[in-house]
C-alpha cells in the first residue's frame, strides 16, 4: 500500500468531512473562476461591441451615455440631433457610412428603435458578418408600418412574421401609454449575439412621426452611428476636434471601445471587491481544510503511532497529511469546475438578457490553468500545520501505556 493508497483510504474513512470540506473548496473555486472569467470576458466583449461603427454622434453630454444608448440600447438618450447635423456628418469626406437612429418607444419593455435599412444592408456588425433575416422574412419598408424583430425579443415575446403590435410610448413599459399605430412584423433577425438582438427595429419615420411625439421629433434623430473610411487615420481626431472641442452642441463619442473601457475603469473598484471576496472565500475554504484535518488529529494519533511502529518515518506520516489536504483541495477544484459551469451559465444568461452581449463561458482562460494549481498549493499549505502535529506524534505514548 503506497502513500497515495493510505491517503485515499483515510479520505474514504473520513468521507463526510472530506465531502463537506471539498464542497467548500468547490464553492470557492467555482466562485473565483466565475468572477475571473466574467470580469475578463465582459470587458473584452463590451469593449469589442460597436455594431460595426467607429463612433456615435449625439446631443451634447456624456459620451458613455451616448454609447450605452445608441450601441447597447441601454440608458436614455441624452437628447436629439438635428436632421441637418446628420446630413452634415453623412456628407463628411472621411465618413463611409452614417446611420441615424431614433428611440423613445417600447413594446412591453423591449426597446423600439427607428433607423434606415442602411443599418442592415450596408454595415457589418463584425468583420465579414452582416445582419441576416430568418427564412421568409423581409427588411422593413421605410414607407410602411413594418418591423424587423431582433432574435432575442422574438424568442421572448414569441413574435413571428405577420404578427401585429402597438408600440408603447417611452423607454419603460406603461400600458396606459399605448400608441394607436399598428405595426406588422415582416422579418426576424438571425441571432448576432449583439445588443441588436434585443431591439424591435422600425423605419426611422415611424418613430419620428409616432402619434404623441413632439413636432420637433419630425426633424431630429436620437443619435447617428458613424463608420469612418478605412485608412483615414486622422478622421477620428478631426471629427473629435470638430464636435467636441470647437463645437458645443454635439458630442462625438470616438472610439466606441475606449468609451466603454472608461466605464470599466470607473467600476474597477467593484471588480476588485468581487475578486477580493472570491479570494477571501478561497481562504476560508482552505482554512476549513486545516480545521477539518487538525481536529481529526487527536483521534488519529494512535493510527499515526501505529504507522510509525510499523516503520513509517516522521516525514512519511507528515507527507500523508499534506497530501491528504492537497487531495481534498484537488477534489474541490474538480467539483468546482462543475459549480463554475452552473454559475457561469446563469450569469451569461443574465448578461445576455440584460445587454444582448454574449459571453463565451467555455472559452479558454489562463485562470483555468492557474486556479487549480493555486488551490491545490493552498490546500497543501493548509495541511502543513496538522502535518507538524503528526510529525511530533509520540509513538510510544500513543501506542500503549508505559509499563
Amino acid at each position: 500500500m503506497s502513500i497515495v493508497g493510505i491517503v485515499l483510504h483515510s479520505l474514504r474513512q473520513h468521507a463526510l468531512s472530506t465531502a463537506v470540506t471539498a464542497a467548500s473548496v468547490a464553492l470557492a473555486g467555482g466562485l473565483l473562476l466565475t468572477v475571473w472569467v466574467v470580469k475578463t470576458q465582459a470587458q473584452a466583449a463590451f469593449t469589442g461591441v460597436n455594431a460595426g461603427f467607429d463612433a456615435v454622434l449625439g446631443a451634447r453630454g456624456s459620451k458613455l451615455q451616448l454609447v450605452l444608448n445608441a450601441i447597447f440600447h441601454l440608458e436614455s438618450s441624452p437628447g436629439n440631433v438635428a436632421w441637418q447635423d446628420f446630413l452634415d456628418v453623412q456628407s463628411n469626406l472621411d465618413v463611409e457610412l452614417a446611420v441615424p437612429i431614433a428611440v423613445g418607444d417600447n413594446y412591453h419593455g423591449w426597446r423600439i428603435v427607428g433607423t434606415t435599412p442602411d443599418l442592415f444592408l450596408k454595415s457589418e456588425y463584425a468583420p465579414g458578418k452582416k445582419f441576416e433575416l430568418r427564412l421568409g422574412g423581409n427588411w422593413f419598408d421605410p414607407a410602411r408600418r413594418s418591423a424587423v424583430v431582433g432574435s432575442f425579443v422574438a424568442e421572448k415575446m414569441k413574435l413571428k412574421i405577420g404578427d401585429k403590435f402597438h408600440p408603447f410610448h417611452g423607454l419603460v413599459f406603461d400600458e396606459q401609454m399605448q400608441h394607436s399605430e399598428t405595426y406588422v412584423v415582416v422579418g426576424v433577425l438571425k441571432p448576432s449575439n449583439t445588443p441588436v438582438d434585443r431591439v424591435i427595429w422600425i423605419p426611422l419615420e415611424g418613430v419620428q412621426r409616432m402619434s404623441g411625439h413632439g413636432a420637433q421629433a419630425d426633424t431630429a434623430v436620437s443619435a447617428v452611428l458613424v463608420k469612418l473610411k478605412a485608412g483615414s487615420a486622422l478622421a477620428g481626431f478631426q471629427l473629435d476636434t470638430l464636435y467636441n472641442k470647437q463645437g458645443n452642441r454635439l458630442t462625438f463619442a470616438w472610439p466606441i471601445g475606449r468609451v466603454v473601457a472608461e466605464l470599466f475603469d470607473k467600476i474597477g473598484w467593484f471588480d476588485r471587491v468581487l475578486t477580493l471576496v472570491a479570494w477571501l472565500v478561497a481562504l476560508v475554504a482552505t482554512s476549513s481544510i486545516l480545521a477539518s484535518i487538525y481536529n481529526s488529529m487527536n483521534e488519529r494519533r494512535r493510527e499515526l503511532a501505529i504507522f510509525r511502529a510499523l516503520g513509517a518515518r516522521r516525514t512519511t506520516v507528515s507527507s500523508v497529511i499534506v497530501l491528504e489536504a492537497a487531495t481534498i483541495s484537488a477534489l474541490g477544484v474538480i467539483v468546482g469546475f462543475g459549480f463554475y459551469v452552473g454559475l457561469i451559465s446563469i450569469v451569461t444568461r443574465i448578461i445576455r438578457s440584460q445587454t444582448g452581449v454574449v459571453l463565451e463561458p467555455f472559452a479558454f482562460d489562463p485562470v483555468m490553468l492557474w486556479e487549480p494549481v493555486v488551490f491545490v498549493a493552498l490546500g497543501a499549505l493548509a495541511g502543513i500545520v496538522p502535518a507538524i502535529k503528526a510529525y511530533r506524534t509520540d509513538v510510544a505514548q500513543n501506542l500503549t501505556p508505559r509499563s
Binding site: M1, S2, G5, I6, H9, S10, Q13, R302, E303, I306, F307, R308, A309, L310, G311, A312, R313, R314, T315, T316, V395, A396, L399, T400, P401, R402, S403
Partner: protein, 232 residues
C-alpha cells in the same frame, strides 16, 4: 537462552529515564547486559510497570536510550538517528502489542500489507499466505471490528511477520485473550516465528504463558532499576 552461537541482539549498559510529572527523573530501564541468539524464543517474566514495554520499545528503535548500546545483527541501533531507526524497525522487527494496535479502518489484508509497505514493499501473495498461516484465509476483507478478539490477535501476528523480520517482539500478546485462546495464540506465535526463521522475545506477567517456554528469564534480574539511585 541461546539456541545457536549467532548473537542477534546484544545489549550493554542500557538506561532510559523519563521525567515524572513532578519534574523528577524516573529511571525505567537499566539493563547492564542482555543478549538473544538468532532464532531463539525467550520469555521475560515481569510485573506490570516494571519497564518491559520500554525495553521492547528501545530494542525496536521507537525510543532512544539515554546511555548504553544496542547491537542488532552487528548494527549499533542505539547510535542510529530516528529516521534510520524507523528504517531498521521496518526491515528487522515485528511487533505484537497487547492491544493488537490494528488499524480499524483497514481490512485484515490491508493491515498486513500496510506492515509491508514501510519495509520490503507490499507483497499480496505473501500477505495472503501469512493470513492463511494464522487461519484467516476466509477473513481477508474483514475489518478488525468484524473479528473476534482471538482473530484480531492472529491478524496482529500475521502483520508482525509481514516484513520477514529477524526478531518478533511480543508485549503481553495474550493479555486480552481468554485462557483457551491464549494457549492457542501463543502456540501460533511461536510456530509462525519458527516457520519464518524469526527470533521471539516475549514479555508477560502470566505464569501460564511463561510456563510454555523452555527459556524464561526474570525481568527484574535483567532490569536492575531498583538498585540504581538517580539524582534529580
Amino acid at each position: 537462552m541461546k539456541t545457536n552461537d549467532s548473537v542477534l541482539l546484544q545489549i550493554d549498559g542500557l538506561q532510559k529515564s523519563f521525567i515524572a510529572p513532578g519534574g523528577a527523573s524516573n529511571r525505567i530501564v537499566n539493563v547492564p547486559e542482555f543478549s538473544l541468539a538468532a532464532g531463539a524464543q525467550l520469555a521475560l517474566a515481569g510485573e506490570s510497570g516494571s519497564g518491559k514495554t520500554t525495553l521492547l520499545n528501545l530494542i525496536a528503535g521507537i525510543l532512544k536510550p539515554d546511555t548504553g548500546r544496542i547491537l542488532f545483527n552487528g548494527m549499533a541501533v542505539s547510535e542510529f538517528g530516528e529516521s534510520r531507526r524507523d528504517r531498521f524497525r521496518a526491515h528487522n522487527i515485528g511487533y505484537i502489542f497487547q492491544t493488537f494496535n490494528l488499524l480499524q479502518g483497514y481490512t485484515c489484508l490491508e493491515n498486513v500489507l500496510l506492515g509491508m509497505s514501510f519495509g520490503q514493499g507490499a507483497d499480496h501473495m505473501f500477505a495472503e499466505n501469512l493470513l492463511k498461516l494464522v487461519g484467516l484465509e476466509g477473513r481477508l476483507q474483514y475489518r478488525p471490528s468484524q473479528l473476534s478478539t482471538g482473530q484480531q490477535q492472529r491478524v496482529a501476528v500475521a502483520r508482525a511477520l509481514a516484513n520477514r523480520p529477524k526478531l518478533v517482539l511480543a508485549d503481553e500478546p495474550t493479555g486480552n485473550l481468554d485462557r483457551k485462546n491464549s494457549v492457542a495464540a501463543l502456540a501460533l506465535i511461536r510456530e509462525a516465528c519458527r516457520e519464518n526463521g524469526a527470533a521471539l522475545l516475549l514479555v508477560s506477567h502470566d505464569s501460564e504463558v511463561l510456563g510454555q517456554f523452555d527459556d524464561t528469564q526474570d525481568f527484574a534480574k535483567i532490569n536492575q532499576v531498583a538498585t540504581v539511585e538517580v539524582p534529580v
